[in-house]
Amino acid sequence: MDIIVCVKHVPDTTEAEVRIRPDKKDIEKEGLPLKINEWDEYAAEEAILIKERLGGTVVAITVGPPEAEATLRRVLAKGADMAIRVWDGSLEGSDGYVIAKVLAKTIEAKGLKYDLILTGAQAADDGFAVVGPMLAELLGIPHATLVKKEEILDGRVRVHRELEGGLEEVVELELPALLTIQTGINEPRYVSVMGIRRARKKPLEVLSLSDIGMGPDEVGPAGSWLEVEELFLPPAERVAEIIPGSPAEEAAKLLEILKSRGLI
């Protein structure tokens, strides 16, 4: 089973304070920790699990600047066989459609063989949730999104898709196919610093746009369907009154509020 897994290196904003840049086109990324997109971590793990079960190869691809290699090294340390990073300055500001095109062109240009392509269900930064299904459409293969369980059958893959309200939809796709992976499908393994160091021996190829037969006018804002006008802070649905004080004072005040409402 030959598998391609597409991953993204993203700013980790779960616990960080997010500030909007003065030109309002993006957030200040300086100082934010960067890491593998959470959904892609599960996708990479699933690819390695399938390889361990059935044999074959795993190739990781990312579209990103040199620092994105940290994410590729992580996937190599998990057990991928090789990695490809595609970048050009003109890719800055690309939407999901452009990224899908770049991935499709990379797979074609390198003549990569695959039975399965895995991506995360969405990215933690832009949250488009489009790259996987768009890539499948560009390659002319079937896809299923939000996959939380997979079983490889003879020439097919049976997947459970996560629906709203805890339901699951079971579908079968003909291979080759593309799956977008939902968090929780597996338990991503621990990757040690030593493991990442050892993975430095594995091949990591860097490609430019011309290597994959694309030009700068097809990517970035020029090739994108979506053009950012401005970022702004979301309005509040409720205005939270912030309870001040030490932890003891905060707790006391909170309990007072509950008492006044008859909740304790």
Binding site: A124, E168, E227, L255
Partner: protein, 329 residues
């Protein structure tokens, strides 16, 4: 020049139209009035005449395709039928829910037709014929206003609960049945079935008090502290998605779009950042209090009260003081 209609893809499951359908129709109605064009509900399924009649109250026209091939949702079949309808009727905009069904079909449809798409939209408007959208980035911490590349037709997916289903009409729209453009089941994809989860030991939707815990709890070892607090408050423990992903609490405790929707008298959110997928399942609770050390955490935008502090200091205090109160009583 005559502007094309606005399409809204009706979403239904187990014979019921889902809320997102009416939310999109309401927004679609407003946009259609602004552009002076028709609002068209698109309904795909099998034996869906009843639903078509219901939709007619909400749209100027209902286009419906009823065929055994469309009995169950299948992204490939839906895509083929939608591509046909869009090609034939040339809508200015096609609205699809940003749901498990919607995001399985919309992005590949957009690529097939070469039509600009924006996903997970919170708001939409037309400016000089160009579609503008509002969406969220960075886990709901920031909103972005974006414009789509100029085109004759656009596709969007719409976030659930972004619009309130409004009061207008009834429109008594014309119901038009369209011959199914596909004749056989898609080759690459086959529907097998729907799996319903077994009922859990605790029904969190029935609780008056919910103490809910998120990623901020850091370790499974810390969950008992939350359980103790919940017990002292006479409530139950629930959680956000990462806690279930890690296997620290069972799936039936998950609040949010892929879990349960709850409306307790008190929702105490501890160490929960407030990603939309969680918030949509709890935002209509009577009283919402959040404890989070990040003052910019989105959860505070949905809370009545907030404590910006370390939960590992505040929760033990709450437990201690609650015990004192109970001891006195």
């Amino acid at each position: 020049m005559m502007v094309g209609p606005i399409f809204v893809l009706a979403e239904h499951r187990a014979g019921e139209l889902r809320d997102i359908t009416f939310e999109m129709l309401t927004k679609g109605h407003e946009l259609a009035e602004g552009l002076g064009t028709e609002l068209v509900a698109i309904l795909l399924g099998h034996e869906v005449d009843g639903m078509a009649q219901e939709l007619a109250k909400w749209a100027n026209r209902v286009l419906y395709v009823s065929d055994p091939l469309l009995k169950n949702f299948n992204a490939d079949a839906y895509q083929a039928v939608l591509a046909h309808l869009i090609g034939e009727r040339k809508p200015i905009l096609t609205m699809i829910g940003h749901t498990a069904y919607g995001i399985d079909v919309a992005p590949s449809l957009a690529v097939q037709l070469g039509l600009p798409i924006a996903t997970d939209c919170l708001d939409l408007c037309f400016e000089d014929g160009r579609l503008c959208v509002v969406r969220q980035v960075y886990g709901g911490k920031v909103n972005v206003r974006a414009r789509l590349k100029e085109a004759s037709s656009y596709i969007v997916t719409v976030r659930q609960a972004a619009f309130q289903p409004g009061e207008y009409g009834p429109l008594s729209g014309e119901v038009e049945r369209v011959e199914c453009p596909i004749k056989e089941e898609p080759k690459g994809r086959k529907f097998i079935g729907i799996v319903t989860p077994p009922p859990g030991a605790v029904d969190i939707t029935a609780a008056d008090v919910i103490v809910s815990v998120g990623r901020g709890i850091r370790d499974k070892e810390n969950i008992p502290m939350i359980e103790e607090l919940a017990e002292l408050l006479g409530g139950v423990v629930a959680c956000s998605r990462p806690i279930v992903d890690k296997g620290w609490l069972p799936k039936d405790r998950q609040v949010g779009s892929s879990g349960k929707t709850v409306k307790p008298k008190l929702y105490l959110a501890i160490g929960i950042s407030g990603a939309f997928q969680h918030v949509v399942g709890m935002k209509d609770s009577e009283l919402i209090i959040a404890i989070n050390k990040d003052p910019k955490a989105p959860i505070f935008r949905f809370s009545d009260y907030g404590i910006v502090d370390d939960l590992f200091k505040v929760v033990p205090e709450l437990i201690k003081q609650l015990k004192e109160i109970k001891g006195q009583a």
